[in-house]
């Protein structure tokens, strides 16, 4: 059956089209701008936070973030309480090594492998040490080799000394060499023993030996202009901030585009444009969805920080000692950087969301949105990649230039600030440039929006879009 006159027919070749489709360009609806935008924000926000998909995705993200914060503690907990203990039998056919023999040698090996601190606290916390060392005589060699084969013994280490030469170590194991994490440790141990042994045979005194071990004096003089006190924490904030900005823009920007396409597809747009101007509709939608997104992000960040803060007391309960080094440096970082993250987060979302709205208005059906917004996602990825590599060169000229391009400012400038590579006036200028860009993009998008929301014909080409934008 004939579809009755959907009146707005787009002919790519036509010059007149642009003049023909002008939806309420102003007039009476303007009087109610704030009231209307407020109403639309309210609807979008409520509609969004009540969506089942929104609630479920929030819960999933909260769980992931909370679990993620517990991972280091959990790993530490398991490794400290794990019952797996590597049993090592040592057969020494080399006699005294560097003056060590018998029990003294066993203790030296134990200390080297398990670490001094572990041994010190080992007895008190009743945790088993990762390595258990026993010394055996050469006569038990065959039995021990069989034990390695059937798995009751993990490692057999045999020390030999070919006459007048350096020590020779034989390492018996049942574990596949690619999975063997112990081999490197034993090898390091062997090197150390051999070094000590050689030093003694060369007749060096213990003092001379330890002076060989002493690290060289190494002083770092950084002539870079900024103090690097917040570097590590700054990097962490910048990287985490970039991820947040990326996720938020893609997720909520897509939400804006889908929302616009949905209104167009369900034809409620025809009623809405009679009650509100396209600008009001667009602004209300962007702010409403943005606010819902900010709520979600705030929940996630709050839960994440809360879970991280829990780690210190939890670790002190579990291990008796607190080791929250990274966290303290993050929470100790200047509040300015966090506020800057929030500001760039909002500005970045606004800038991209206007364009997402315009592209969402251009499609005919909701399932075309994904394709239509692909260029924006690409644009965003560029900023992400630049800031990812830029972490290592925050002062490079190309970083400076890119950090002032509004589409990439939020990520790249944040990285520079985090790395301590930008001054306050640069940040201020970048924010001003972003504000100007937002105003321009909003004006551009509102025109496209006004033109496109009731158009159910072909998608106009780029040239046509420019022509629309230049109208009036």
């Amino acid at each position: 059956m004939a579809r009755k006159s959907s009146p707005v027919i787009i002919d790519e070749t036509s010059e007149q089209v642009q003049h023909s489709v002008l939806i309420n360009p102003g007039s009476t609806a303007n009087q109610h701008t704030l009231r209307n935008i407020g109403l639309i924000i309210g609807r979008e926000y409520k509609n969004r936070v009540r969506q089942r998909s929104f609630i479920i995705s929030t819960i999933i993200m909260l769980v992931v973030v909370a679990l993620g914060a517990f991972v280091p503690t959990v790993i530490q907990y398991f490794s400290s309480t794990s019952s797996t203990q590597t049993k090592i039998a040592v057969v020494n056919n080399a006699g005294a090594i560097a003056g060590l023999d018998g029990d003294a040698l066993t203790r030296y090996i134990g200390t080297t492998l398990n670490g001094t601190s572990a041994q010190a606290s080992g007895q008190s916390t009743s945790g088993k040490l990762p390595f258990a060392i026993t010394t055996q005589t050469a006569s038990a060699l065959n039995t021990l080799q069989n034990q390695v084969k059937n798995g009751s013994l993990d490692i057999l280490l045999v020390l030999n000394r070919p006459t007048g030469q350096n020590l020779h170590f034989t390492y018996y194991t049942h574990t596949d060499s690619t999975n063997d994490t112990n081999q490197a440790k034993i090898q390091a141990l062997a090197q150390q023993l051999s070094f000590l042994d050689t030093a003694q045979r060369l007749g060096l005194t213990p003092a001379q030996t330890s002076s060989l071990y002493a690290p060289p004096g190494f002083t770092v003089v950084n002539s870079g202009q900024k103090g690097s006190s917040l570097s590590i924490a700054g990097y962490v904030i910048a990287i985490a901030g970039n991820i947040l900005i990326y996720i938020a823009v893609v997720l909520y920007g897509m939400g804006v585009a889908m929302g616009v396409a949905e209104e167009k597809g369900s034809r409620i747009m025809e009623i809405l444009v009679n009650a509100a101007t396209p600008f009001q509709l667009m602004a209300g939608k962007i702010i409403g969805i943005g606010a819902a997104g900010l709520t979600q992000m705030a929940c996630i960040v709050a839960v994440g920080i809360g879970a991280l803060l829990l780690q210190a007391p939890l670790q002190s309960v579990l291990f008796g000692s607190s080791s929250a080094g990274l966290l303290q440096s993050i929470t100790g970082v200047s509040i300015t950087l966090l506020l800057l993250l929030l500001l760039y987060f909002i500005l970045g979302f606004l800038l991209y969301a206007t364009l997402y709205a315009a592209l969402g208005a251009l499609v005919k059906r909701q399932d075309e949105v994904q394709n239509a917004v692909a260029p924006l996602t690409f644009l965003l990825v560029i900023g992400y990649v630049v800031s990812y590599f830029g972490v290592y060169a925050p002062d490079a000229l190309w970083m400076k230039v890119i950090s002032f391009i509004p589409f990439w400012t939020p990520m790249v400038m944040l990285t520079r600030v985090g790395a301590g590579g930008s001054s306050w006036w640069e940040v201020l200028i970048s924010i001003l440039i972003m504000l100007v860009a937002i105003v321009i993009c909003t004006a551009f998008a509102a025109r496209i929006y006004r033109f496109a929301v009731l158009m159910y014909g072909q998608r106009p080409g780029l040239r046509q879009l420019v022509r629309i934008a230049r109208m009036h």
């Binding site: 059956m1 004939a2 579809r3 009755k4 006159s5 959907s6 009146p7 707005v8 027919i9 787009i10 002919d11 070749t13 036509s14 007149q16 089209v17 003049h19 023909s20 489709v21 002008l22 939806i23 309420n24 007039s27 009476t28 609806a29 109610h32 209307n36 109403l39 639309i40 609807r43 509609n47 209104e263 369900s266 034809r267 409620i268 747009m269 025809e270 009623i271 809405l272 444009v273 009679n274 009650a275 509100a276 009731l454």
Partner: protein, 316 residues
């Protein structure tokens, strides 16, 4: 005063959708806006609403350009469903009413009253997509009238309704009419127009072909239709041989024919009697709106006519 449409033209690309269309709808009228698919009804309605603007010509409401009339004076019911499918009925209608300028309390009061009248109170918390088509159309109607507009523009409000719901909606129409609203609506059910409207316009290919008072139009189109029933000869085959007569329908209860205006209808009766026919019915009738519609719009108005919209520029 009312609504005055003067010589409007509208072109989309190569396709002239509206050609020099003029019409007048007096304030408080219940006005039928008729035309075949693709004739330009929706385009005209959108121009009246200032959603799109005519290339030339002007549209005024009570002497004022429509673009300067408050948006809140208009109520628009689009042809296709224009609601948020996943939003609850009550919430949706309150949102739309408030967006059209009503306060929250007023919107709520109006809503309660109308939901009761339309017997969809039980569905107020349901999502629109969960409602039957008839109930959805009622909600759509409420979205149009809740903010108490002066002018209602309704694009096929009766399409797809069962007789019961159509009656409920028709009652609401007449109620709005009694309240003095100006109602312009398009429909393909011409019997409804005959029943409800005083004035109509019929447009074809973007041009007005007939307009005015329904009774007036019928009278102008003359008494040139006759109905004949012969008890002993249901087919009356010889009618086809009479000059100046064209049989248009052969029904079980009568045969309808068009007679040339200069032909004396008595000739038909005489011819029947002379052939021994037992005349049980003979009458001269006014043409129905359907007849007038088909006479002016022709076969392009039939449902299987080429779709003007899908082939822009293909037809002039």
């Amino acid at each position: 005063m009312g609504l005055l449409v003067e010589h409007i033209n509208k072109t989309f690309g190569q396709f002239q959708a509206i050609k020099d269309l003029s019409m007048e709808v007096s304030e408080g009228a219940l006005f039928g806006f008729l035309g075949a698919n693709g004739a330009g009804k929706t385009t005209t309605m959108r121009m009246i609403l200032d959603i799109i603007r005519p290339d030339t010509g002007q549209i005024q409401w009570n002497g004022q350009e429509v673009r300067n009339v408050s948006r809140h004076s208009w109520g628009y019911l689009p042809e296709e469903r224009g609601l948020y499918p996943k939003m609850a009925v009550e919430e949706q209608l309150l949102f739309l009413a408030r967006l059209h300028g009503l306060s929250k309390q007023d919107a709520k009061k109006e809503l309660d009253e109308w939901l009761e009248r339309f017997q969809i109170n039980a569905n107020r918390k349901k999502k629109v997509e969960e409602l039957s088509k008839g109930n959805q159309q009622k909600v759509q109607f409420l979205a149009t009238i809740l903010h108490n507009p002066d002018i209602l523009i309704m694009d096929e409000p009766f399409s797809g309704l069962d007789p019961v719901n159509a009656t409920v909606l028709k009652e609401a129409f007449l109620e709005m009419h009694r309240r003095g609203k100006t109602i312009i609506f398009s429909t393909h059910q011409l019997e409804q127009v005959e029943e409800m409207c005083e004035d109509v316009v019929i447009i074809n290919k973007g041009q007005s072909v007939v307009q005015g008072n329904v009774r007036e139009i019928k009278r102008q189109h003359g008494r040139n239709i006759a109905r004949l029933k012969l008890d002993n000869d249901p087919q009356v085959a010889w009618l086809d041989t009479l000059p100046g007569i064209q049989v248009t329908k052969r029904r079980q209860d009568y045969i309808e024919m068009q007679i040339q205006s200069d032909l004396n209808p008595n000739l038909i009766v005489e011819a029947a009697l002379s052939r021994g026919g037992a005349v049980s019915r003979f009458e001269l009738v006014e043409p129905s709106l359907t007849d007038i519609f088909i006479e002016h719009v022709g076969t392009s108005g039939l449902p299987d006519a080429a779709d003007l919209v899908s082939a822009p520029g293909g037809r002039e």
